[in-house]
């Protein structure tokens, strides 16, 4: 066996070679340098970038043996230990300071790529940076902040001056002492040094590796299953089938319709269904064993789309039929509305399924404990529901399960459903050894729920002056093989189908249908992304038909305080839509006073530019009558520091920072004095699902009220002890002032303990009650509003589209952490841009075509436009300091703003996403050759 002699971060190693080993595996598994991340293992995402002899390389496709004689630098090699303290490299520091770190999973790759760039070019401009980072993907898409960080680091390296902080992010207009000002993420430093641990970075003694055997047929009955060859393979420890599930076979978030493993005689409903699971001593053996499992199926006709699924006589995928839910919105009198209208027209739109493509693929680890309990390590958006679902499958009491949530490399709604959690629990229970199940990118793309593909027909009636009088929508949503959150998602698509407008007569009918495609569930925007594309296109079409300005049209119909929504809810506060419209309009006109008229590039007559405009709104919180509850603990420790705890999920969006800032504000201490613990079902109270842009509101409030309650308890205790009025106790500058004396929090801790009081408070916050759809009244407790304008350049010959600028205004109620908010907004625009231009999850006859990242394109830095963010703050009374959600609304108007801009540039109406440049070219060609 040959040797590999290599240097890693200045240290020499001589290692035996291992057949088939890549450099990333050598670094991660043998040297335990887990800062180098694996996102795709197909040289697409760049997360695994390391330097080999100074050049950035994708270590996932670099044979380890080629590294013989080479110098390797990984993310762990950048920071330097100076007097027992780690001194960050200026690049690492700049990524932290500029807010370029969100979920953090891509960051080692971003920094290593940038490090190589700065070695060769100490003063790079924007083009140089984009060229160098072209294939280093960030799905949180903080590309502008990444670019700023690299420029700031380059300057610091050249001048020796400290790294510049961002200067362009204003404080909240409702700022307090801490909240409303920009603060750094508590976990940012570990994310830039590679020390941050994600699930796949964990390893346990005796740990086995799992693989699920997927059916790989879209529809049929499993007739025969033979696992004997797999079981006989040396190194295989367990092969489990449906018969081995001790508890409930089905899981699900709302409806338990999704079998953890399909049994013999049972129905396979999509290619990603599991028919057996394997645990083995190595990943390689697990994969070999999975391939040795023999299965036979009685194939059934495939239901490929929701319209077909609703036809008479087609096969029924579930016992209750193919209809998951018929969702109805009714307001006013449609006949009267359309009869009154001066103009009535309709159009049909189509949107495809899309994938979250979080850079960190799904990973779960089950660890059986000596006391008969089980720990599940997983990055999950709903830890408490994982606990329930795992317990059901095992047939255990829930108290025996502990979910220990890990840092997540992005979620975007795609980490709400059960993926590997039940499988590892079954295997860990069966083998009594820890078991890890890591999806590769291929499996991630095949298996987890997508954004719903839709068909949306909108019929609109308006008066001559532009006032909308009737909007009638028919939606078909493809929820795929299983319900997941399909009903909720399509309800949101339906209730928001007439746009953020005050319309007297509204009807919407949605058919959420089962098909044999991969399931569809939550994805940032939650159905509104699709319906906003339809209705905002209709608004521009209407403006043109009536010959009125499209911004006037939106202003005239915009929801305002006092409006009644389509579901019969009176908006009583916090409707910043008009301000968003006006401020985007003003900003846009600074660039171009006649933004919607095409301008031809003088140097190239094929290139035409124009702006497009779109509005949107999105509920904050679950709504629809669901109790919206989050719990938080705030505890004071002996050293005078605090901890705030909740099982809300941090998936990169910045919730941990929000919780820290809120407790810091309430206790009047520096943010650094507040630690945050999330997502551990033994140690943190239930924060509910991280979905529906709800966590800043609900867990923010839970943290706030827990802190307030603790403060009240301290006040009461001190008032009694020092015999002063409670009003004379002041919390200021990190200490408690009692009638002239100032006590540190460490002293307060002692005082409380001495009096037998626990300086710890649990608060369960329940958001204002809501009503189910159809009952009128408040279906949601808050709405956020967003308006975007996009400038595009279209090549009239080729149909190619480039987005040059995007202006995004979002009414967020109040910006708790403006730096984190900026990252959400930039990322939202980029995800919307991907939805418009690059992303299409293609399924043909139930088979997934886009089964590798190379076939499913998410936007990289090269496609990033100049993004201008305008924060609008119309506070919500019940929100923390007035805040409401922003995670979704900032991504919704992007697609129609872009497609409206394309129409304004070249007169081609896009009614199907993603934009097809060939279709644009053909339409222009036909029109111009017909002249």
């Amino acid at each position: 066996m040959s040797k590999i002699n290599l240097s890693v971060n200045g240290k020499d190693y001589s290692l035996g070679s291992v057949a088939g080993e890549t450099l990333s595996t050598l670094l991660r598994d043998r040297l335990r340098l887990t800062g180098t991340k694996i996102g795709c293992e197909e040289a697409e995402c760049g997360a695994c970038t390391v330097l080999v002899d100074g050049e950035p390389m994708m270590s996932c496709v670099y044979p380890a043996e080629r590294a013989d004689g080479k110098n390797i630098v990984t993310i762990e090699g950048l920071a330097q230990r100076v007097h027992n303290e780690m001194k960050l490299h200026p690049l690492q520091e700049a990524f932290v300071e500029q807010g370029a770190v969100q979920c953090g999973f891509c960051i080692p790759g971003q920094i290593m790529t940038a490090y190589a760039l700065l070695k060769r070019n100490p003063d790079p401009n924007s083009d140089d940076i984009r060229f160098a980072l072209k294939d280093t993907l960030c799905r949180c898409a903080g590309y502008p902040s990444i670019e700023n960080a690299i420029i700031a680091a380059a300057e610091a390296l050249r001048t020796g001056e400290p790294v510049q902080k961002p200067t362009h992010i204003p404080d909240s207009i409702h700022n307090h002492k801490t909240v409303g000002h920009s603060h750094l993420r508590p976990e940012a430093v570990e994310k830039v040094t590679g020390e941050a641990i994600y699930t796949d970075d964990l390893t346990f003694d005796g740990m086995l590796f799992a693989k699920a055997r997927r059916a790989m047929i879209p529809h049929g009955f499993l007739t025969k299953l033979d696992v004997s060859k797999a079981k006989a393979l040396p190194g295989v420890v367990a092969v489990l089938t449906a018969e081995d599930i001790p508890g409930e076979h089905n899981h699900g978030l709302v409806i338990y319709d999704w079998p953890a493993i399909v049994g013999i005689g049972e129905r396979v409903r999509y290619v990603g269904d599991s028919i057996a699971i394997v645990a083995a001593e190595t990943q390689d053996i697990a994969e070999q064993a999975s391939a040795l499992i023999e299965a036979e199926f009685d194939l059934q006709p495939v239901i490929t789309d929701p319209v077909q699924a609703r036809q008479d006589g087609v096969p029924q995928i579930h016992e209750k039929g193919n209809l998951l839910k018929h969702i109805k919105v009714r307001k006013g009198d449609m006949d009267a509305g359309f009869a009154k209208a001066d103009l009535v027209f309709e159009h049909t739109f189509h949107t495809p399924a899309t994938d979250h493509a979080f850079i960190e693929p799904e990973c779960s680890i089950g660890v059986p404990l000596a006391d008969g309990r089980m720990e599940i390590y997983v990055g999950s958006q709903i830890p408490y529901q994982d606990k329930t679902q795992v317990a059901r499958a095992l047939g255990w009491d829930e108290s025996r399960i502990r979910v220990v949530g890990q840092l997540m490399g992005g979620g975007f709604g795609g980490k709400e459903d059960i993926m590997g959690q039940i499988h590892v629990a079954l295997l860990a229970n069966g083998t009594q050894r820890p078991v890890k199940l890591l999806f590769d990118r291929h499996e991630s793309l095949l298996v987890h729920p997508k954004r719903h593909a839709t068909q949306i027909r909108v019929k609109m009636g308006a008066m001559k002056n532009g006032r909308l009088v009737a909007v009638d929508t028919e939606l078909y949503g493809d929820t795929g093989a299983y319900a997941s959150l399909g009903e909720k998602v399509m309800t949101r698509a339906t209730t928001h189908a007439a746009g953020p407008y005050d319309v007297e007569n509204v009807r919407a009918d949605c058919y959420a249908m089962y098909t044999n495609n991969p399931p569809a569930g939550a994805f940032r925007g939650f159905g509104v992304t699709q319906s906003a594309f339809a209705v905002e296109s209709m608004m521009d079409m209407l403006a043109e038909k009536l010959g009125i300005d499209r911004i006037d049209l939106r202003r005239m119909n915009a929801l305002h305080v006092g409006s009644i929504t389509n579901t019969g809810q009176e908006l009583k506060e916090s409707v910043g839509l008009m301000e968003c419209i006006d401020r985007v309009n003003t900003e846009m006109r600074k660039h171009n006073s006649d933004p919607f008229t095409p301008i031809t590039d003088p140097a190239n007559p094929n290139l035409v530019r124009a702006w497009g405009f779109a509005s949107a709104y999105k509920n904050t919180g679950l709504g629809g009558g669901a109790p919206d509850i989050s719990g938080a603990d705030v505890e004071l420790y002996e050293d005078g520091t605090f901890q705030v705890r909740s099982s809300a999920a941090e998936l990169g969006q910045g919730l941990v920072t929000v919780m820290r800032l809120i407790v810091s504000e309430e206790m009047a201490v520096a943010p650094e004095k507040v630690r945050v613990l999330v997502m551990d079902t033994d140690l943190t109270p239930n924060g509910g699902p991280t979905t529906a842009s709800r966590q800043t509101f609900v867990t923010g409030n839970a943290s706030r009220y827990a802190a307030k309650t603790l403060r009240d308890e301290i006040t009461a205790t001190m008032a009694e002890k020092y015999d002063v009025k409670p009003e004379q106790i002041k919390f200021r500058d990190g200490s408690v002032h009692v009638n002239g004396t100032s006590l540190t929090y460490a002293e307060i801790y002692k005082e409380m303990k001495a009096l037998g009081k626990q300086p710890c408070v649990r608060y369960e916050y329940e958001a204002p009650k809501t009503k189910p759809l159809g009952e009128g009244g408040d279906m949601h407790f808050a709405f956020s509003f967003g308006v975007q304008a996009a400038e595009v350049e279209v090549n009239k010959l080729t149909g190619e589209v480039r987005v040059l600028k995007v202006i995004s205004a979002n009414d967020v109620g109040m910006a708790v952490n403006p730096l984190g908010l900026q990252g959400q907004i930039e990322g939202g625009v980029m995800m919307g841009l991907g939805n418009a231009l690059t992303e299409e999850f293609i399924v043909e006859n139930g088979n997934v075509i886009t089964d590798h990242l190379a076939r499913y394109r998410v936007p990289g830095i090269m496609l990033t436009p100049e993004i201008t963010s305008i924060v609008v703050e119309h506070p919500v009374e019940a929100g923390p300091y007035g805040a409401k959600g922003v995670g979704e609304v900032c991504s919704i108007p992007t697609t129609p703003a872009i497609t409206n801009a394309i129409y304004n540039a070249v007169g081609v109406r896009i009614d199907r996403t993603p934009v097809d440049q060939e279709l644009i070219a053909n339409a222009i060609w036909e029109r111009e050759s017909g002249k």
């Binding site: 994708m58 294939d135 190619e800 590798h852 076939r855 936007p859």
Partner: protein, 290 residues
């Protein structure tokens, strides 16, 4: 599953050929390996037993002038090809093509040898080398020999190189003389597979307003990298003007075999945009040569 069992690192061409011909089980030479390893992993390539890493062969990692030719080793990473001043001087089209292959990290391992060995009719590097009339140096158990570039290709994905006994060692290009230049451009779509809809490279020699000589390559314009020889004949020796351009394009459209590739581009779309692309490439090369 293990992508390979044995990994060889020969230090010379003869050692590489020896390793290749004596390997037990299926064998593949690997340069960058970015495509091959993924093809193996994703089951698009039959399993192999032995990989022969050519990047340790010095002769294959050289980029230098040899007499009146530029030599580029087949295992030189395309990023080095793109950055080297020699290619900047003698092979602008190749520089432009190499700068567009994948992303920077992949370009640091991917090689022209691999790009060519895959025998795709529209690989960027391949199309540039076609227009530059490269010659390939091929090693076999009986020694090395030169092959005209387009003779390396039999069909889409089908190389004339015998993978069990032959290796592409490097490429020879003629040095650029006064009045000569080249250019490469391509048109992509932002969705789906990472292959161009259409790419085009032009090499030309200009004498005032006269096109003294020209090579036009378009991908994919047929089952193998396509040279628009008939269009070249129309332009060669002519003063460049609108009328001659129209005739050149007509001729190109007649000779090229554009086809529809699912989810990428229809044949009609390719025909519709090829004129604009060729015109852009030609104009850029024409200006450079002036």
């Amino acid at each position: 599953m293990n992508l390979w069992q044995e990994y060889k690192r020969p230090a010379s061409i003869s050692e590489a050929i020896q390793d290749l011909t004596s390997a037990s089980g299926p064998v593949m030479p690997i340069a960058g390996g970015t495509d091959l390893l993924l093809d193996l992993k994703q089951g698009r390539h039959a399993p192999i037993h032995t990989l022969i890493d050519l990047t340790f062969v010095p002769e294959m990692s050289v980029l230098e002038l040899r007499g009146d030719e530029l030599y580029i080793g087949a295992a030189v990473p395309v990023n080095r090809v793109a950055l080297d001043p020699l290619t900047g001087l003698h092979a602008q089209a190749l520089v432009e093509a190499c700068n567009l292959i994948a992303g920077p990290q992949v370009r640091n391992t991917a090689t022209l040898g691999g790009n060519v060995a895959h025998a795709l009719p529209a690989a960027d590097g391949t199309i540039a080398l076609t227009a530059l009339e490269a010659q390939a140096e091929v090693a076999s158990p009986t020694g090395t020999h030169r092959m005209p570039f387009t003779s390396l290709f039999l069909g889409p994905g089908e190389s004339a190189i015998n993978k069990n006994s032959e290796i592409i060692v490097g490429f020879y290009l003629k040095k650029t003389k006064k009045g000569q230049s080249s250019c490469f451009k391509r048109i992509m779509r932002p969705q789906g597979v990472a292959l161009p809809i259409l790419n085009c490279a032009v090499w030309l020699e200009r004498d005032g307003d006269v096109v003294k000589d020209i090579h036009i390559a378009v991908g994919p314009g047929g089952p193998i990298p396509f040279r628009a020889t008939e269009a070249e004949d129309v332009l060669r020796g002519q003063s460049f003007n609108e009328e001659i351009f129209t005739r050149t394009l007509e001729s190109l459209l007649v000779q090229a075999k554009f086809r529809t590739s699912a989810r990428r581009a229809s044949a009609d779309y390719r025909k519709h945009i090829v004129g604009g692309l060729f015109s852009d490439v030609f104009e850029a090369a024409w200006k450079r040569a002036g």
